[in-house]
Amino acid sequence: MKQSAFESIHEGLWNDFEGQLVKFEALAMRRSVENEDREQFIDNFELISKHLAFAKTRGYSLELVDHLNQLVTRGHFVLHKSQANPLDNIFEFFVTGFAREVRRARYFVLVAAISFLLPAIVIGAMIQYSPHYITSVLSSGQIQQFERMYSSTEARIGRERSGASDIAMFGFYVYNNTQIGLRAFASGVLFCLPSILVLGFNGLFISAIINHLSVIGLGNTIFSFVIGHSAFELTAIVLSGAAGIMLGYALIHPGALPRREAVRRIGASAAKIALGAALMFILAAFIEAFWSSLRFVSPEIKYLVGACFWVLTFSYFLFAGRNADRETTSRT
């Protein structure tokens, strides 16, 4: 068939299809498309796919091939738009998905926890043995600043000046801590090392400050302050680092796969863990700003609440979605 005849027969269909494309591309989700519209669209897509194949094999002009290629490419894109409601996925993710993802990555979490805890335990023991070791980690200016933050008689614990409001501190914690977590995740792709360093340094500094303050007699203040948000914040640091280590590990040890394929396959799991951790950071920031800092709540109540948070965190990661785990393993 001559190209001009081919074009004059099908031009109408191509224009109709283009109109449908514009309509479907404007929709955020495919579910909002009427069913008969969809069927019509798929029929047209299949026809135009054939036209593209004809145009190529019959040696029709490059411009026509290019035009049909565009139509099929856009149709291919629109047809694969997600039909799922993202809110369903998000709900499922927080109820069980996040915990299951973390359990599946348990060895990475273990490595991350060790990277965080080992420097923390070593510096803690050193400071308890001889308090002057704090100067090997913090400058005297920083030490004085922390001592002021936790020894003052302000209405809020953990703040240097009374001016800082709860919501300003919440903003700072969200911005600062969550960002550290996201960076610990992303940078792990550089062969794990940055994630391990972030974990190690955080363990080192947090432990040094807490141990120093407890040595100089502020133990009750600092422990009752950190116990509330620590369950979420420390777990989130370790999980962010673990997600980063996953990416780096896939590059270091891709197994039978090409490196880019190995890192792509582990990427989704790692990102889910990092995302969950980011939300834990925000939760921790909320508790730290609005609960941990309250001075009129007695330390005993804070220890109790904090202990509950720890039990809650561990139970969630150990048990949430266990049944689903079993189903997946029995199927494979």
Binding site: S49, A53, G59, D66, T73, A168, G171, Y175, Q179, V189
Partner: protein, 236 residues
């Protein structure tokens, strides 16, 4: 240019061939470092301006304003790319201006997780400064992927949705000679595209290599090759 030379050209071509479920192959044009860099710059400037403007407005309102500015600034900065990519068919404002679209490596729309991966890993591609790691990784990758693209399994392609067909001048077109395959036709087209850069002598020299096929010499050969290219472009 021989057939072998053309194969060499294809090796550095930015065309990516993909299969669709109907069995027909589609071609996508992968975008390179420069054009993506400009798009990135536009997006980063927009992000920066929005966050700055919001801070300037909120911070003077007091401590609550500082808190709000930090939280909102944080969310805008980290979700800007993800929201646009997922809710706007892979097109951020920067990509829109440059005519680009981010898609999965199989040409399908990007989902939440993949968008989160490629957006978060921008901080790695940025290192040590000015997206250097990203630029180097793209240069080493046949599909022009930065690290975030590799981990997410995504590519950035030209987003052409305008019908440019039949814009060419039909009067100066000649029929396509029999037996020209697609590669041969491409040679005609690249000759036409480069014509304005060639000296007249060189253009004649090149066009005369087709004398056995066309039987024309000198300036006439150039005109004839050009006309055939025109015919290939618009279909005769």
């Amino acid at each position: 240019m021989s057939a072998d030379d053309l194969t060499e050209v294809n090796k550095v071509d930015s065309t990516l061939m993909l299969d669709t479920f109907t069995g027909v192959e589609i071609e996508l044009q992968v975008a390179g470092v420069y054009i993506r860099g400009v798009a990135r710059l536009i997006d980063d400037v927009i992000r920066f301006l929005v966050v700055s403007a919001m801070s300037v407005l909120l911070i003077p309102t007091g401590l609550v304003g500082i808190g709000l500015a930090s939280v909102l600034g944080f969310f805008i900065w980290w979700t800007y790319n993800v929201l646009f990519e997922v809710l706007n068919n892979g097109v951020t404002p920067g990509k829109y201006y440059m005519g680009l679209r981010a898609v999965n490596a199989d040409g399908t729309p990007i989902g939440w997780i993949n968008s989160v991966i490629r957006s978060t890993l921008l901080v790695v591609d940025f290192l040590p400064f000015g997206y250097l790691i990203g630029i180097v990784t793209m240069a080493l990758s046949r599909t022009q992927q930065r690290i975030g693209d590799i981990v997410a399994g995504t590519i950035v392609v030209y987003n052409r949705s305008r019908n440019t067909r039949k814009s060419a001048d039909i009067r100066r077109a000649s029929p396509i000679p029999d037996g020209l395959n697609a590669d041969d036709q491409l040679l005609f087209l690249s000759f036409q595209e480069r014509l304005s850069d060639l000296s007249p002598e060189r253009a004649i020299e090149l066009a005369e290599t087709l004398e056995p096929l066309l039987g024309k010499n000198g300036q006439e050969a150039v005109i004839e090759v050009n006309a055939i290219a025109q015919g290939i472009r618009i279909g005769t």
